[in-house]
């Protein structure tokens, strides 16, 4: 065990810190869940890419820096410490990108990864269907082979930011006679293809980044399939592992939120209930615990280990922590918590964050599913 950073790691930290200080937008961006805010966030993605910071762990050939996970953690720490905005690009860089690197052909890597890292193509995921949420093997949307194309019909739903994204990736049934997790393929398609209809769904906070996607005889080249026909389930499970695991929810984001929460506490110290101050402390402690755990997992992965069902522990922890952090803030704000704009004129980001945090224990596989995975695969309880 060695918990000291090397001089190289420290100078990397300084490099990130200086770049962020010079480039992070001063004024907070509008919400990523609305059109205007989304466009602001995409502009930020392109600014990041101009400094080659779009996805630091990716190979240089695809617009990355080829950095290891410890440097990735350092990058994230400096990114969030600088108050940089949330990532509009996260579905691409954290989910689809690693999937293409593992399962894509050389041609697919060349075609998709660089525009993704540069923020030129923003991705949405098309997993869930109205009757297939947590039970993803129940999906019915079909992609039937016709020459060099698939013809896609069906419906996806609860697709984050599909209303604004350029492309989507998802699972489709390529064998019409198959059932459950057999006969599925992992297919990428542009959302402006004829026959695709995106219908925004208004979410709890009133914004419409979320959407349903309808496919009506949509033609997609077979070349847009990742891995073999019928192998989609395994590919999707790997993607879901990335989603639950290390990369999607970097600890620094929660540490930054915890710090802001402590600052909020200091402002409201006189009116804070003992329970609220205890919740603030717990929120800070949990963010620290999450960071340490991530460093520990990163070290295992760097030494050749794989993240399996352990990713579920992670997902349960961060999603419940996120909710608790924002609940603590709401309780500090007291009666003002219900206001969309706080009395000091600032948008009530805590309220928006609280509403968003409620989705964490549901998406990426509900926490009930995650607890089953932990119990069955890590603890050895019967299925």
């Amino acid at each position: 065990m060695n918990l000291d950073y090397t001089p190289e790691q420290q100078s990397f930290r300084t490099e990130v810190r200086e770049w962020m200080a010079a480039h992070v937008p001063r004024a907070p961006l509008e919400t990523l869940e609305g059109r205007k805010g989304f466009d602001q966030h995409v502009a930020w993605e392109r600014a990041l890419a101009s400094g080659n910071w779009g996805m630091v762990t990716w190979p240089e050939a695809y617009g990355g820096r080829g950095l290891d996970l410890i440097r990735w953690l350092i990058f994230e720490e400096e990114y969030w410490a600088a108050g940089a905005p949330g990532r509009a690009n996260q579905n691409g860089i954290f989910l689809l990108g690693p999937t293409i690197m593992e399962y894509g052909s050389d041609e697919q890597k060349a075609r998709f990864l660089t525009p993704m890292a540069r923020g030129e193509v923003i991705w949405a995921q098309a997993w869930s269907e109205p009757d297939a949420g947590s039970d993803m093997a129940a999906i019915r949307s079909r992609a039937i082979r016709d020459g060099d194309d698939y013809v896609v019909n069906g419906q996806k739903t609860w697709s984050s930011r599909a209303a604004f994204a350029d492309w989507c990736f998802g699972l489709f049934r390529t064998d019409p006679d198959s059932s459950r997790h057999h006969g599925l393929s992992f297919i990428l398609l542009p959302l402006d293809t004829p026959g695709v209809t995106v219908r925004p769904i208004r979410q709890l906070h009133g914004e419409t980044g979320f959407a349903e996607i309808f496919f009506d005889n949509v033609r997609v080249p077979v070349a847009n399939r990742i891995a073999g026909e019928g192998e989609g389930w395994n590919v999707a499970m790997a993607t879901a592992g990335f989603e639950r695991g290390l990369m999607l929810r970097s600890p620094a984001r929660f540490q930054a939120t915890a710090k802001r929460l402590v600052e909020l506490y200091r402002k409201h110290r006189d009116s804070a209930s003992p329970a609220a101050s205890a919740a603030v402390l717990q929120a800070w402690m949990d963010a620290e615990a999450y960071a340490l755990n991530t460093y520990a997992v990163a070290a295992q992965v760097m030494a050749g280990g794989k993240i399996g069902a352990e990713a579920s522990l992670n997902k349960i922890f961060w999603s419940e922590m996120d909710r608790a952090q924002h609940r603590a803030a709401m309780s500090l704000l007291g009666a003002a918590a219900e206001l969309r704009t706080l009395p000091d004129g600032e948008p009530n980001a805590w309220l928006e964050g609280y509403i968003f945090s409620l989705s964490g224990p549901i998406y990426a596989g509900s926490n009930e599913i995650q607890r089953n995975i932990v119990a069955e695969r890590l603890l050895g309880l019967p299925r």
């Binding site: 410890i70 200091r266 949990d286 340490l292 309880l381």
Partner: protein, 320 residues
């Protein structure tokens, strides 16, 4: 930066775990509980393993290891629910004493009891050759702990010894982690064996979810204990904060493990007939020892809420 145990640390941990699994199973706890609560054979075995000398320099006959290794041993002591005064003597007291005393500790001939104003009860005073922070009295008053294997004495006059409380809280936290893991294991085994409604109760989602929640708590408490050991070893300015944080998280994990384990065991868990109760009661005892929740929360609050440190991202391993 490499947050993994090194091969020597893994070897040490595995050796201690294997030894205790073989020599300190539940039958030993039952025998000690039925007898005088202490067993010279257990102590002699721990000495023979070299565990009393873990923190004693090689010149004094010890292994000359550090607090990270001490924590790894303490986790195993918690897993096996060892009650000999090994943790207090070898993992807390030894580095605070003189070379001659360290040599006696390594040799297994000196047992040390710990007193501190924060911790009103002194464990194992009756068999100690030395008490740190307090006076040896000729006829100490024995108190009955809920933990059947914990012999407590006091209260007497005591004075704070520099460094004692943080070391003891750290080692207590590590034992709570080991105990929590053991209780999770006991409850999981029971859920696999016990059938109701024609199937193992572990098939029920309600049981699975309880146990998964415990696994999450323990998983996220363990690295805190390791970081606290590292920080204390290196005298980091934040070591006190890290120790209190670790103690709180380990306590929460162990208490949840205990409450969940008894729930999963059902009425059997409410008896002396299953082994669970030994670990459950140790968890209760250690939770309040070496600074209770209020004490450690206050220390974290002083560090975090009052702007004493930069607390944002990028300070996780900061050593001022």
């Amino acid at each position: 930066m490499d947050f993994r145990l090194n091969p020597d640390q893994i070897e040490l941990r595995d050796a201690v775990r294997d030894y205790l699994t073989a020599e300190h199973g539940p039958e030993v706890l039952r025998r000690l509980d039925a007898g005088n609560r202490r067993g010279p054979a257990v102590w002699d075995g721990l000495v023979a393993m070299g565990l009393t000398g873990i923190l004693v320099p090689a010149e004094q006959g010890g292994l000359g290891l550090g607090l990270v290794e001490a924590v790894l041993v303490a986790i195993e002591l918690g897993r096996a629910n060892v009650s000999e005064p090994l943790a207090d003597t070898a993992l807390v007291a030894a580095p605070l004493l003189r070379a001659t005393q360290q040599a006696e500790i390594a040799a297994g001939t000196l047992k040390v009891a710990l007193a501190h104003p924060v911790n009103p009860w002194v464990a194992d005073l009756n068999q100690a050759g030395l008490v740190i922070g307090g006076e040896m009295t000729s006829s100490p008053t024995a108190l009955d702990s809920v933990d059947p294997l914990r012999l407590l004495f006091g209260p007497g006059e005591c004075i704070a010894t520099e460094g004692l409380l943080d070391r003891a809280a750290l080692i207590g936290a590590a034992q709570l982690i080991g105990g929590g893991e053991r209780m999770l294991g006991l409850a999981t085994d029971y859920a696999n064996q016990r059938s109701q409604f024609g199937q193992p109760i572990g098939k029920f989602q309600a049981i699975k979810h309880h146990l998964a929640s415990v696994a999450v708590k323990i998983e996220f408490a363990r690295p805190l204990v390791l970081r606290a050991a590292h920080a204390l070893q290196q005298n980091h300015a934040r070591a006190v904060l890290h120790v209190s944080h670790a103690k709180l998280a380990a306590t929460d994990a162990a208490m949840l493990a205990a409450e969940t384990a008894i729930q999963v065991h059902g009425a059997m868990g409410y008896t002396y007939e299953v082994d669970l109760h030994f670990w459950m009661k140790r968890a209760w005892a250690l939770s309040g020892a070496w600074g209770d929740r209020a004490f450690h929360e206050r220390r974290v609050a002083e560090a975090v809420l009052d702007d004493r440190f930069d607390i944002g991202p990028s300070t996780t391993f900061l050593a001022e």
